[in-house]
Symmetry: C2
Subunit: 657 residues, 2 copies
């Protein structure tokens, strides 16, 4: 495999974000989500179900070290879901990121305290999962399929690496290295070991991240084993289920073991199938492994799976997982707008996957998906006050249907305060808190910019230290100004600026002069010696665009959606009244595009003259087809991500033409 | 209440059907369904779950009369659902009807034998429900809400009346009169009695039918009590649930006791709500009571409920019950085509209700619904070989969705052989076998014809015996010829011929001369002295009509359906390939309308030049809106009821315009 064009993202430490769009989101994560979650993990939220998460660790620590006494009542056992441990791991990860861009001694102290308790719970052999420490270690590793042991392990690896990168402290990292050794003693290709792999993936990409820190080949090897062994015959999950008399919840489903992406070897998987979050977490790990190992078949599988998602199973918002049934992918071109699952975590996982595909081969097509998820299906998961969250991100909402229609019972029309299964809020926290790592990437002699937002970044390229400062009002405006600082003199390297897939026209100026750049895989490439003070000005035309979906998508026939730049828009009842399906786009002539700073924390609103189907003269249900009687009706669109911040009501992304 | 315009349907004995469309259906019922069901009820179908129905009666008879020995193993208790008794009742009803138009000594013997066993199971006090006879009579009448005691009672009343009308035999009728007395001793307004009513309605209309036979006011009174007491505070079902510690499956549902139409008094119910079959069975009983008692408030409630169904909750096929959740009505204008429940039994119940509304006030609007259900949503429930059945009658079918999408798991794309809950096939049998009773109705001096099909009917009107013979190729052709025979000389009366709601133009000739008739409530009225040999020729124009649905129906925006006469058409994959949602009607100019006698047991097929959305040049999922590229595509429509008789495939009623 030709690995010359591979690139690696910047570390979280190398990019400082100062952006009018994203900084408020990051602040909400820092000031609302992270403190709230810390209280939740410690069962300090009044009127909420306890999390039990930290209590489980304290109890496990008391069991491991009887001299310890956290005052946990001894007669109360393990609490919460089987994957409750992962909650504190996600919190540690997000909180660590936030320390990078906002040092906070008190938060750091809380982190250290939590890590102390966690490490106290670790067994002598390195094992660290409170569900089994409390319920009986003899049952550990007996249900990799459904008991999330390796999932919690993976999340802790991410947490350990993030904490180490953010603070330089090794305590959690070393604990996880020992846990990885413990797992390697029990699981692997050698005779006498379990030939298993995670039921809920994440350990694959997490081990590769650990390998990035430790450079210990054993960590890469374990990740590769998890990937390569997955779905090999005889199926480990089938054997494990029989051997241990485990339940198999999908035995009557068409999905079978593909619910876990474990029905066939990963290189033979050509469609995204099964539980959507698990799927994209696996694919992200596969992409990492393909990049590091040059495994062409694995890369091909990643490309095929990515193409299947982006070309046949992805909503225009970047949401994935069409079906509430198993929170899963369903079938190609099945994209219902009202009954969609579209879990926030799945969009986040797709962003992970897209970013890693971009690292194998920088292509705007990958970064387009990354950008689409970030500006739409990911941030739609959080209210604008940072206090309420969507699991499910519908593209059409009807309050009466959510109340009365079981097809839409999972579709909430208002974000919820917190969840018993608290996966989405902390996942939002960890991606938004680490957004700095998504902006640029680097290979030996090429610097790429994938996302446009205000930031200052530094790297070493062409043997020189280079800084670049980006200023922009993106996504509301199309102008991006980039200034280089080459502190140690001019640096010769190629710089690739992503031209988004949505962009039909743009201009590029270098130091005030129009410049032409070859566009390669969607990146405008400028190869030159960059000098201190060099200025690039990239201006994207940002017209309002009506978008249609492929003829294969039955749900969207006769409809269009509205986009401007990367932002998908929607109609809300608050602006347009009820029965949004009676509205028609007509032929929008003059749009008004207005930034309203006091609306929804500042959004660009799009208005134009549309139509509305009038009521029939008689109150009939059916009649011979007649010309529709349409009345003029101004339509007012807001960005999709900002919906449901003004009370319950209807919403739709796709509008009748 | 002015009851002068009330009419009563003909008895099953008064109309002999000989019709090219309906007689084959009746023959299928007689030769396939009734014998198959008899074997099923006696557990004689290989490879099928036993019904246990007749075995339960034998066991109950042995318990009641220890001298009897049917050889039922003593250690096996009650089998089947709690309402298993109703299956034999429906069979007796349908089989009795068939004896009227096709005498069959062997069938009559089987009927007598079954009735003997049933009567042997009856308790001394008249009680007759094998579930409680076998499981313990101390628990009887403790769960009227969910245990279907009064539902089975109601079906047996229908069976007893039908058997008596068909054969003149009183054995089952007398048994049911005793059972009605038993129930009246336990349930009623008096102190010390239970103030209850059926959880699954049917006893209301059945008791009124019994009253029609017995003229015993107590039977009418019990029916009225069931209707009037329903939903009164304190709610009987709530009290019963608490008192007997019963389950309440709908306690977390928005429906609550309205699942049973028992959350408020029936006269305060303005929307059809809850389980659809139960609802329309209740409404049919209410209509019967309103007709007999002149209760204006009850009639108003019936009219309001009928208008709600026909105007806001009914599919174009006459199917009702939009939601698989509780097999229920959902909310106004919610008419999803793919996830619909649309149970065959519910369409049958709507036909019952419509026929009874027609009897209060003959209006074509009621008979339109009756006709719509019969030619579409009812007979779609049975395969053309009479051997397979749909519970659920979708208006759009996608095989992959039915396999993979839990929203459509109840939507089968092929009719099933039989059902564990065998409600729909015998219900089809009893309505089709009694179709003769739906054709005409009569009040003192007015004869009405509601349905057009080949038949000979006789009645006494204007003091004279009159016969009329109808010949027609309806619904394939619009011409109807009616010949009168007035055996005892001319008879002076008004004759109302229904002008269907779908009809825009027609001609009427009397003895070869065009005649004008005043149309009153949708009936062309001819008042004159009718003489032997008078001939009427009614010719409906029957153009192919594109139909649209109200702007309030979100699922059908931009679509149209095709009808000709009362028959709703559909596109099937067998004729039109896959991805039916890519087809467009365009502007159909010249239709070809062809009767194909060898297709689907003989159907009229409609073809015209439509369009199909071509694939996009690039394999994209989204793109800026462009003019669609359409290719010409001939469209071939078949009658909806005949779909799914040529193997699995896609189907749709509503087609993009």
């Amino acid at each position: 495999m030709d690995t010359s064009n591979q690139s690696t993202p910047f570390s979280i430490r190398d990019t400082a974000i100062n952006d009018s769009f994203w900084s408020p989101f990051m602040e909400r994560i820092r000031t609302k989500v992270i403190p709230y979650q810390w209280d939740a993990l410690n069962d300090r939220i009044p009127d909420a179900e306890p999390s039990y998460c930290m209590r489980n660790f304290k109890l496990a620590a008391e069991l491991t070290h009887p001299e310890l006494d956290y005052g946990v009542p001894g007669d109360i056992g393990y609490g919460g879901t089987v994957f409750q441990d992962s909650d504190i791991a996600k919190w540690i990860e997000a909180a660590s990121y936030s320390l990078v861009w906002h040092p906070d001694p008190e938060l750091e102290k809380n982190l250290d305290g939590a890590i102390d308790i966690i490490c106290d719970a670790q067994q002598k052999d390195g094992y660290l999962d409170t569900y089994y420490i409390i319920n009986g270690l003899d049952r550990r590793f007996t249900n990799l399929k459904d008991n999330h042991e390796l999932y919690c392990f993976g999340h802790f690896l991410e947490a350990a690496a993030a904490h180490y990168e953010a603070t330089g402290k090794r305590k959690l990292l070393d604990a996880l290295i020992r846990y990885a050794e413990c797992i390697s003693r029990h699981i692997g290709p050698e005779e006498g070991k379990l030939h298993g792999y995670p039921g809920h993936e994440i350990a694959e990409m997490a081990l590769i991240r650990l390998y990035g820190v430790t450079k210990d080949e054993r960590h890469l090897k374990l990740a590769r084993y998890f990937i390569d062994q997955r779905g090999q015959r005889p199926l480990y999950f089938e054997e494990e289920t029989q051997r241990n008399n485990n339940d198999f919840p999908w035995k009557d489903s068409y999905m079978q073991y593909q619910y876990y992406q474990a029905g066939k070897p990963v290189r033979d998987q050509h469609r995204a199938e099964g539980h959507a979050v698990r799927a994209v977490y696996l694919y992200a790990g596969m992409a990492d492994a393909a990049r590091l190992t040059g495994d062409k078949k694995l890369r091909d599988a990643c490309e095929t799976l990515f193409a299947n998602i982006a070309g046949k199973q992805m909503y225009i918002t970047g949401s994935i997982g069409q079906s509430a049934y198993g929170e899963s992918f369903s079938y190609d071109y099945d994209l219902p707008n009202d009954t969609v699952y579209g879990e926030t975590c799945a969009a986040i996982g797709l962003a992970f996957f897209a970013r890693r595909m971009c690292s194998i081969t920088p292509r705007s097509a990958y970064a387009d998906v990354l950008e689409k998820t970030l500006y739409n299906g990911i941030i739609s998961g959080m209210s604008l006050d940072g206090r309420a969250f969507f699991y499910v991100n519908p593209l059409e909402a009807l309050p009466e249907a959510s109340l009365k229609d079981p097809r839409m019972r999972h579709v909430k029309i208002e974000r919820q305060k917190w969840f018993a299964c608290a996966c989405c809020p902390p996942n939002l926290a960890r991606i938004i808190a680490s957004l700095g790592a998504y902006v640029h990437s680097l290979n030996v002699d090429t610097l790429y910019t994938h996302l446009y937002l205000g930031n200052e970044a530094k790297c070493t390229v062409g043997g020189k230290e280079v800084s670049l400062k980006t200023e922009t009002r993106y996504p509301w405006e199309g102008r991006i100004d980039i200034t280089f600082t080459a502190t140690s003199g001019g640096a010769f390297f190629a710089y690739g600026l992503r031209i988004p897939g949505w962009c039909r026209s743009y201009t590029l100026e270098l130091n005030g002069e129009k410049t032409a750049a070859v566009v390669q895989d969607g990146y405008a490439m400028l190869k030159r010696e960059w000098r201190d003070g060099d200025r690039l000005t990239l201006v994207f035309d940002m017209p309002v665009t009506l978008v249609e979906s492929s003829p294969h998508v039955r749900e969207n026939r006769g409809k269009a959606a509205l986009m401007r730049g990367p932002v998908v828009y929607c109609l809300e009842e608050a602006d347009n009244g009820k029965e949004l399906y009676r509205l028609r786009l007509g032929t929008p002539a003059a749009c008004s595009v207005t930034y309203e700073k006091d609306l929804l924390e500042g959004v660009t609103v799009i208005s134009f003259a549309g139509k509305r189907e009038k009521d029939w003269p008689k109150d009939e249900l059916y009649r011979p087809l007649d010309d529709p009687v349409l009345e003029d009706r101004p339509l007012r669109f807001i960005p999709y991500y900002a919906w449901a911040n003004r009370g319950p009501g209807e919403m739709t992304v796709w509008v009748n033409r």
